[in-house]
Amino acid sequence: MTGQPRRRRVTAARLRTRSGVQLAVRRIRLTLGIYGLLVVIVVGQLVHIQVLNADEYADRGVRQRARTIDLPSTRGRIYDRDGDVLATSIQAATIYGDPRAFRPSETPDGTPLPAGADAVAVAQELAPLLGRDPDDIVQRLTRDAHFVYLARQLDHEVGVAIRDLNLPGIGVLTEPHRVYPAGGLAGQVVGFTGIDGEGLQGLESQYDSVLRGGPGMLVLERAPGGLDIASGIRELVPPEPGTDLVLTLDREIQHAAERAAIDAMDEYNARGASILVMDVATSEVLGMASAPTYDPNERNDADRANWRNRAVTDVFEPGSTQKALTVAAAIEEGIVSPDTELAVPDHLRVGGKRFTDAYPHATEQWSVADIMERSSNIGTITIAQELGGEVLESYLREFGYGRTSGLNFPGEGPGLLMPHDSWWSTSLPTIAIGQGVAVTLMQLASAYATIANAGVAIQPRIVRGTVGDDGRLTPTSAPAQRQVVSAGTAEQVQTMLERAVSGDHGTGARAAVSGYRVAGKTGTARKPNVDTRGYSSEYVATFVGFAPADDPRLVVAVMLDEPRPFYGGVVAAPVFSEVMQAALIARRIPPESAGRSLSEALEDAATVAADAES
């Protein structure tokens, strides 16, 4: 009895011991399994982070602690041909606000926080510095936004003063500001940029990609509080500065042309005026003025119509200045020579329309040179009829009519020259004397430059080259050239044009320049109606010429829109004389007349001094 229960107890104890061991083993295995699973998960995650997606997580880490600052590039300067600055960039201050600092907020757990600053008090301090109404500043500071501009492109000193105030919620940024130090000088040519530095008008727009450069970047490492870590990573990608642009403009000539254009507008009550000065040998534009003008620094205060460069955007009928081209074509074709005499009545009927000369006269035997000197419409029409419409059109196109000049200036017009097979019966006589055809002042000046340059047309240009980081001038590619008429023909036309200025019957006597021989042609053309066919009672007065006549160096073209009086020889020729004289002096071109001796000059100087004293 007693032995059996004891054996049972031993067996039970053994069984309990065995099951306890097994349980422990199972538990250990389970625990190991869990640990193993955790290890697998951790290792898997490690592989996922460190191997499979290492780059992504590295980038995330950098983004969390790195601060990237965009560095704006410095826009290239624009110089005149002698290196005088026409457009440059300075550093300006931009003031911004963080409206979050001016409104109550609450913590993540819902605890309300008062506003960090009083918008009204801040606005009162800022208003006199910004030149803005305090209410306007308050209105901006209380917007539902994280960032608002309060003022942009202020003087650097204003930014420093505001930074020194250390106002809460107010910050100061530095950004480039485009300025035009010479004010309105060449304003229509240079153009202007927008507030973000993008070219909007003129050469600033045309050469925007060259001037703009490339932005840079600065990457800094920052602590959780937002402070930069001084010894942290610092990667600098410097901005690529814009390329400087060197123009062909001569600042002195440009100023003289602009002043003359403004004075002429005022003196003759003209609606507008354009003046263009070109170098004959290179077709480089030395001056290109339009009036009324504007100051790119104050462009928002100016009439937008004054932004355009009228010398290349506006077209007009060239009038009698066209006659030189008609005669040049006839001489080149061997139809006439300067000495060829023609019977010239004072009127002619063509295609049912009556054409007349400017003044009545009996039928005269005039040479072609006489016709040019007297600017005879009938004589020129007679020559053109011999020439024919097709040939005249082809020569005019060779002279550059009906297409842009190659400057590619924004808004440049191609003019208007209908194909000869679309001409009316009256088109040939009207086009021969410069009506029924429209050109820009650039086209007209370029055509006269061709005559002055021995019949060789050179594509005009206004950019000499670019200056890169190395400071060297990289010239623009050589302009295209074409022979329009022979050198002999050009020389004969030059001689006739000189008579138009210096001859007894010349219409351009007021274009003369003391000490120089001048050649040129007046033009007076009625303006076509805008709304209906036919012509209005308004006129365009022009004068185009070159000097010195025996060795042409400069071409000057003048156009006055609706002047009073309206004759080109009366209003445009004096302007030509003034501008040509200034240009000849600026380009150091000596007079053709014999110079005075030194003793004569000193005597004259002594006389002038004595007169001044008395």
Binding site: P181, A182, G183, S597, L598, S599
Partner: protein, 147 residues
């Protein structure tokens, strides 16, 4: 033969067997200079930390210097750009013209030029020009052959 190849089985003396069962006197283990060792480790660690901090401080100082120089260069560039603009504005022909008028100047007349009465050596003159005695040449320093 078997006696020759049989392994020698030497009976262990009972005294030795008895000695194995008792504690044995051993030599004192060599002295470990624990304190020195710890100090050395602490110094190495401290030196490392100090060196790292010092180098980091130096790097931070250099970085601050670099930033100060950057700021100086930026300010100098800003001032230079402003001066360029200011000079260009002062050279504006319209401003100069207005200032000249204010000073009482008047526009110059037509362009004139002067013909020299004798050639200068630089112009290829090969003969000596006789200068009259007593003739005062107001431009002598500039234009005379003795220049």
């Amino acid at each position: 033969m078997s006696a020759a190849t049989a392994p020698l089985k030497r009976a262990r003396p009972s005294q030795e067997r008895g000695r194995d069962r008792h504690l044995q006197v051993v030599d004192e283990p060599p002295k470990r200079h624990t304190l020195v060792y710890l100090l050395a480790i602490v110094m190495v660690v401290a030196g490392t930390v100090f060196g790292a901090v010092a180098l980091n401080a130096l790097a931070a100082g250099s970085s601050v210097d670099a930033r100060r120089l950057d700021a100086y260069v930026l300010e100098a560039e800003r001032a230079y750009a402003q001066l360029v603009a200011d000079v260009a504005a002062l050279e504006d022909p319209a401003r100069i013209r207005a200032a000249a008028f204010d000073l009482g100047l008047v526009p110059a007349g037509p362009g004139r030029h002067v013909a020299l009465e004798r050639n200068l050596p630089a112009d290829g003159a090969t003969t000596t020009v006789e200068v009259l005695d007593g003739t005062a040449d107001p431009l002598k320093p500039v234009l005379s052959v003795e220049r």
